[in-house]
Amino acid sequence: MGLKPLTTRQLSKNNLRSNPFRTVCLVMVVSVLSFTMFGGAVLSQSLKNGLDSLKNRLGADLAVVPLEHESQYEGIILSGEPSRFYFDRSMEQQIKEIQGVEEVSPQLYLSTLSAACCSVPVQVIGFDPDSDFVIKPWITKVYGRKLETGQLIAGSDIVINDSKTLKFFNDTYPVAAQLEKTSTGMDYSIYANMDTMRMLLEGAKKTGMNLSVDVYGTDIDHSISTVLVKLKKGYDVDTVTTNIRRQVSGIGIVKSKNVFLSAANQISVLITFVNTIAYALWIIAVFVLAVMFTVIMNGRKKEFALLRSLGAARVKLCKIVLTESLMISILGGVLGAFLASLVVFPFSTYIGESLHLPYLLPDVISSIRLLVGNLVLAIATGPVAAIYSAGKVSRTETCVLIREGE
């Protein structure tokens, strides 16, 4: 019946409804913009978060590994690819005595199997609680007590059953806690102390699996995979690396800053690309909408002339044009952000894996901030693009509008 007062908003709404194709086209332009901007913002933020997480979790300045196993070590850190490599434990003591080394801590790596004996094929990282300076701080955050022998700590992406246990080599181990998500390979790893590692090896032997942690013909007590090194204050990474290479042979050295810088460089390129696309699209969207609004307003001269002849002030015409553009922007902005949410949040794991980079979604508050920022920008797009048309329509002499509208 149309009994509502014919306010500016109501007139604008009626106009948009009466031209569904035109309205849908305009809404689509804004929604594509909103989709790209919000999706891009979440992607960029996730990569930044992943990088920060990687930086925090690397912990050690250097990792000493057996010769030619540097890339495998990086694979474990970045993507949790199961891997095994060993050298003699005496290396730990040799490295500790080198000038510039503050602390060392050994780690032992095992890979479980994709077989009936094991819940999941993962990297198991054994650490020495007495010397460790890397893993314990994370564990303390989620499990305030001492990790007992036989207990495991699981990375955030390890699927654990209801009884909070994992089965490896037919033995069941309780999971004391699960770490927070880091977006690195650590999310796909299991952590245990050296005694628990020994239990795992025993289990493997019993089930007939040959894990052979004895490259030097020794047993677990004499084999390690990595020696993590923390430098003394004032010592340079490159100098200490040279010192280690001079005094210890048959080793490879991975500098944490190189792992970080490599990821940081890739992420920086990607973020620059995403941001460039988003800003370029914003400029294009404003331009496209400005052209569309100008064409549309030219086609509506008769309508504006009529309103003016009925007593509408110039500012009223301006308000009608801007209200319509605002409504279009709100619809497009919300639609685009909603569609982007359907992609970036549910498929974050897939996106992270596809990029082969640390990828950590922003928390709820940060996501809401990004959403609000994106909506403000998307919603402003329509009125910004329509300002010229609105001004032109309201400035034109009414009799010219009448003449041109006929």
């Binding site: 149309g2 009994l3 306010t7 309103l307 003016r308 009925l310 002030a313 500012v315 009414t398």
Partner: protein, 222 residues
């Protein structure tokens, strides 16, 4: 109280100098008066009408409506003044396609704050113009005569003192023309002053006076 035009001139710049579309026109319209203006195309009729309606600023001269010079007012004030004092019936079809008949008639009521109830006055004007049964219909389903009635009902919703009609019977058949002219005469008899521009000599008898516009000059038509 009336519309008074004193020495009103409108000039346009052309290649070969200034062109006077309206040249020193004097005219007075009282409430209840019904004036016809005839003339050839391009004689300045519509320009004059637009100045009377406050839509076009004269180059010189004064247009006073009930003692107020609309062109000395700011746009907001002038628009509100026009909205309350003048009903305007444009040439041709002038309904907004996005609104039904009732809402088209209600528009002038809501352009300025007059409270919320525009439905009753709109229905009254629809009844007066004989199109009550069309209130929910959209313009694309109306005939030319019906559209003209919608324009007249819309022009009357704010109870204006003056009605300005630009060829209200143009492109209508004889029967519909007669009905529209009877309606306009009735409106004038109820106290609304009307200025109507027309090309049709057969409708002149409905007005009280007729003027001829020729090359921008207005003169009485005998």
């Amino acid at each position: 109280m009336a519309i008074e035009l004193k020495e009103v001139t409108k000039e346009y710049a052309r290649k070969n100098g200034l062109f006077k579309a309206v040249n020193e026109v004097n005219l007075s319209l009282d409430k209840g008066d019904f004036i016809n203006i005839i003339g050839r195309s391009g004689s300045g009729k519509s320009t004059l009408l637009n100045m009377v309606a406050g839509l076009l600023t004269p180059t010189s001269g004064v247009v006073e409506i009930d003692g107020s010079n609309i062109f000395s007012m700011k746009d907001q004030e002038a628009s509100a003044f026009r909205n309350s004092k003048i009903g305007y019936v444009p040439q041709g079809s002038s309904a907004l396609s996005s609104l039904n008949v009732l809402d088209n008639v209600r528009i002038p009521f809501h352009l300025w704050n007059r409270g919320k109830n525009s439905v009753e006055p709109a229905r009254l004007r629809l009844k007066q113009t004989g199109i009550s049964h069309l209130s929910d219909v959209y313009p694309k389903h109306l005939s030319g005569g019906e559209l003209k009635r919608v324009a007249i009902a819309r022009a009357l919703i704010n109870n204006p003192d003056y009605l300005i009609a630009d060829e209200p019977t143009g492109d209508l058949d004889a029967e519909t023309t007669l009905e529209i002219m009877k309606l306009l005469k009735e409106i004038a008899e109820n106290g609304t002053g009307i200025i109507m521009v027309t090309h049709e000599l057969e409708v002149l008898d409905f007005g009280s006076r007729t003027f001829l516009m020729d090359k921008g000059k207005l003169q009485m038509y005998i």
